[in-house]
Point group: C2
Chain length 600, copies 2
């Protein structure tokens, strides 16, 4: 078939019609040939019961062969008007499988599909009750001994985990656990979230005093209950903490605060977990069918082992334990590290009158917050985007529609522009000795975040302090050893210090699996996060998706939920649907469970 | 000018253009002549700095003469597409005055204006910060000794009312106080809300256990933070209580719980109030410029004085103190009254196995909740309305656009339909001896609510219990006296009783003014609520608007906020703008402050 020049929407409709027909005939060659030779299909749970990007016709054909007979995808329909830009036609679509409904996005080039995104939106027969199907709230008529909402809620809280087992247990009641818990609640999956702190939101409240979200409000919405219109662009940590606490209550989540997990093991025969937790001092054994680690995508704090550290007479702690610079006015403070936390903490210490030195061990990507907003995020997540009809849900799908394999090519030009726009700042940072990079391929901040979850600073002011020498800098050095009142650096310098903050990042999330379950299970699951890009801290082979996140792992019934608010919001939809399907006994054949190439 | 037959939107545009021109020329005859002889203009604060309906050309002309030179209304523009239905053209409009922007609605008949609504949406230069103008949340750059959001918030809470006086004090922290507080917060008016209970939402939580909102969710949204899509149609009382508590925190209101007002007096010279409150046991004197009573539009509980009541050996209390029927299983319970609370409490007692008798002293309007939803409210406040583009804000304006003088004519046909649809229930209620009415003119529930705030039951099940004799009924009788274990009725019957609940309603809101300020001020202000319809409990003369609500009263700087959630939401906008204007020293000449005809 030659590519007709027709209106964009018609082209999308025709493509979908041809595609649907090919699938109906089980003609997978024909279906795959509707893609470009190097076309992509990203499927979020709809056909693969996995989070999977098929790269190239052959892989697409293989997936179709394996999944179509059971998934029975059909009813492919264009939704709304497609648009054409620079030879690429983009459009929305809806479709169904035997058990679900879905929404997707397609890009056509020369009449063939360049990228296809398919996402599951709901399971048939298990739709969320909302809008016209929302609950009545009161049962009209007279029923002796009816329970009030409060009585029912109180009873449920008293029973769940005590006399009745939750189907799902989420370990970690930060944003990731709370958001997933909200989705599971709406899907009527009995769930308990356990959290070691005493209040929802404490994982934010307990961080350093000056912390504000580095991402803007449009990017940060929680599902079901968006922030109001007057919400600040960059939420202060205590304000987001309060919001999470409110959200947990309003969404009526089963939230066990002041609860720590002692151990978890999977009983293959019973196909359930045995999880021992200590709740307010009392030991409780839970037996959920599904276990989710939502313990922070950053895993366990990394504190480097440095010779002599135990002899240090001043204070020393990991950045996750640092609260405020208040008590350090006039003191000599050394911050080890050069990413977000390191910069924020340096600036806060400087603002409180401390003598601050940052130790930059290796190069760091820096991008000004304003520039990121305007050039990188603004098109999808901003007031202007909203005005042009790009709601958060729409933006999430557009974001998800770009295959990771080619995502860097979308980012490189943006960061070229940022480099030009802020050339003056970069020059002054250089001059101050700061080691800068834009990622190995120049693709900047978000790719670094995906590949290694680290390596950058979103500049909200500290860079100027460094450029001006107000925050002192030692770069390209390591720490040789620590003495009672100083650090000795690899270049021989000795830095006197009253405080050392290790802003040295976090380990892989499977570290939590090792700690809570076993090293064996942690190794079976392997490294979490990262794409296999073969760049620093993200070794190959290429994975095509983030390792282990929001999708089945090599350990049955063990899941990882996490990421920034955007990811927690968007991907929790698919994790929740996977869990719900299992609870309802819906067949969920997982296509191509990932291989494990790295243990951490 | 003869009425041209043109497209509806064009007709509206032409009318507005002619109207604007007439006002610009100060030709008030011409402007008034653009209205029908019996046309209406309802102004919410824009021109009149009052809540005022002008009825007929003459009154419109008088108002224009008095207000136009200072208000300088202009820039009248049609907004969106007007529609035509049954000879009436309806359209939206925007306009400005010298100091404000506004939105309005117009209905044209035969080319002339039948009804015009003008509402103030914002004061120029004092717009709410939202969307593109929302706060940043963080000050980028480095500033020594910066305060975090939490520190600033804590300091403000420590200072307001202690070292710094609030501009506005709201007495009553139920829904009305909270909603107004939220609007004032967004307008940056320093405000304290005082509430005698210990938590926001307790005024709902403390009511009888089975209580659910009688109005549906679409009608009940609070401003800024609408209920999520899964929120139940009829909110259980504790759930709405939790929402109000969350809302108070998220909106960062200055909320003094466990605080009671002892006294308030106005200092004419200083133009401020001296208000003595007891906060957690400690006396604090506040000196706000504006005082708002948000103590519940129902005012102080009415308990009838009945001979011998003090000799009663069982329990007796007003419905506002009744919590649950739990402890009354098997007991003889008498509920005096036949409106919402009476019915709900009777049903709850019956559900708990009590022997229940309702004493109906006079006829009551009954309408089934479902019928009200479908026939009365559904067109504006429902999922279907939402789908057709009628958001809550739009619905509120449509609702507000119907002048009270003719509102009953919109309602009578609706209640005729309800009477037919539910004829079977009404017949059975009749047969059971229940005295029914549909209001004196057949205009049903909402007009009763506006006229007297009472006299009806939204049936959610109790009517069937009455029809079936499960709730016993004594109707058309009064209570002669109360003995140790019984009530003697006016027809001579003696009813044995272990419990008497007085579901006998509430007094006018100015009763609160008498209690808190003085009888003199309560009398100066006069009766609150009611339209002067000259129907039962709403004596004439005709007022055209609810007495004293959300608008200037005869007592300077004293305001009344209240009503159901719909009214609290919608009218708080205008009350907040009136207060903000006064704080900013904007001239607010009040057109035609209402006369006082009744003291309570």
């Amino acid at each position: 078939m030659s590519a007709h020049i027709t209106a964009p929407t018609q082209q999308v409709s025709e493509w979908l019609s041809n595609f649907g027909n090919a699938l109906d005939r089980a003609d997978f060659d024909a279906a795959a040939n509707l893609f470009q030779e190097d076309g992509y299909w990203r499927d979020l749970v709809s056909l693969t019961w996995n989070i999977k990007t098929l790269e190239g016709r052959e892989n697409i054909k293989e997936m179709l062969k394996a999944t179509v007979s059971e998934a029975k995808p059909g009813r492919w329909q264009a939704e709304g008007d497609a648009t054409s830009d620079n030879g690429v036609i983009s459009g929305w679509l809806t479709f169904e499988t035997a058990v679900s409904r879905g929404k997707g996005q397609i890009r056509l080039r020369d009449g063939k599909c360049w990228t296809l995104l398919t996402t599951m939106t709901e399971l048939k027969g298990f739709e969320e009750k909302k809008g016209a199907t929302r609950p009545t709230g009161v049962r009209h008529g007279a029923s002796p001994n009816r329970q009030s909402w409060l009585e029912r809620k109180t009873q449920e809280a008293a029973e769940l985990g005590i006399t009745r087992q939750p189907y799902c247990l989420i370990i970690g009641g930060g944003q990731g656990g709370i958001i997933l818990g909200a989705r599971l609640k709406q899907l009527e999956v009995p769930t308990i979230i356990i959290e070691k702190n005493s209040r929802p939101g404490d994982s934010w409240r307990n961080r350093y005093k000056s912390l504000c979200l580095h991402d803007p409000v449009w990017y940060d919405h929680l599902p079901y209950l968006p922030f109001p219109d007057h919400w600040p662009i960059f939420s202060p940590k205590d304000k987001i903490g309060d919001w999470l606490e409110m959200y947990t209550k309003v969404m009526e989540l089963g939230y066990w605060h002041s609860t720590e997990c002692q151990s978890a093991r999977y009983d293959e025969a019973a196909q359930e977990w045995t999880v021992t937790v200590v709740r307010g001092g009392e030991t409780v054994v839970l037996r959920p069918k599904q276990l989710v680690l939502a313990t922070g995508m950053s895993g366990i704090p990394n504190v480097p082992e440095i010779q002599g550290a135990h002899t240090f007479k001043g204070k020393q702690h990991h950045s996750s334990k640092h609260t405020t610079g208040e008590e350090y006015g006039g003191q000599r403070c050394v911050v080890v590290g050069s990413c977000n936390s390191a910069h924020d903490i340096c600036a806060d210490l400087w603002e409180h009158g401390a003598d601050v030195t940052m130790i930059q061990r290796s190069s760091t990507h820096v991008a000004k917050s304003d520039s990121l907003m305007e050039l990188a995020l603004g098109g999808l997540y901003s007031e202007a985007a909203l005005k042009s009809g790009i709601t958060t849900d729409v933006a999430d799908l557009i974001f998800a529609s770009v295959p990771y394999k080619i995502m860097h090519t979308f980012h490189i030009p943006v960061y070229k522009e940022i480099a030009q726009r802020d050339a003056d700042l970069y020059a002054r940072l250089n001059k101050a000795g700061f080691l800068l990079d834009f990622g190995e391929d120049g693709s900047g901040l978000f790719m670094k975040y995906l590949r290694r979850g680290s390596g950058y600073y979103i500049d909200v002011g500290a860079s100027e302090l460094i450029a001006a020498g107000k925050i002192k800098l030692k770069s390209g050095v390591g720490i040789e050893r620590i003495k009672e009142h100083s650090l000795v650096l690899s270049d021989g310098t000795e830095l006197p210090a009253d405080l050392i903050v290790y802003a040295t990042g976090y380990g892989s999330m499977n570290g939590w699996a090792a700690r809570i379950i076993s090293q064996e299970v942690a190794d079976r699951v392997g490294k979490c996060w990262g794409l296999g890009s073969d760049t620093k801290k993200d070794p190959g082979p290429w994975e095509g998706e983030l390792r282990n996140m929001w999708k089945p792992t090599r350990q049955p019934s063990l899941w990882f939920q996490g990421g920034n608010l955007h990811q927690s919001r968007h991907y929790s939809q698919f994790l929740a649907l996977q869990i719900k399907a299992r609870m309802e006994g819906i067949s969920t054949p997982v296509y191509h469970l990932s291989e494990v190439h790295h243990l951490s």
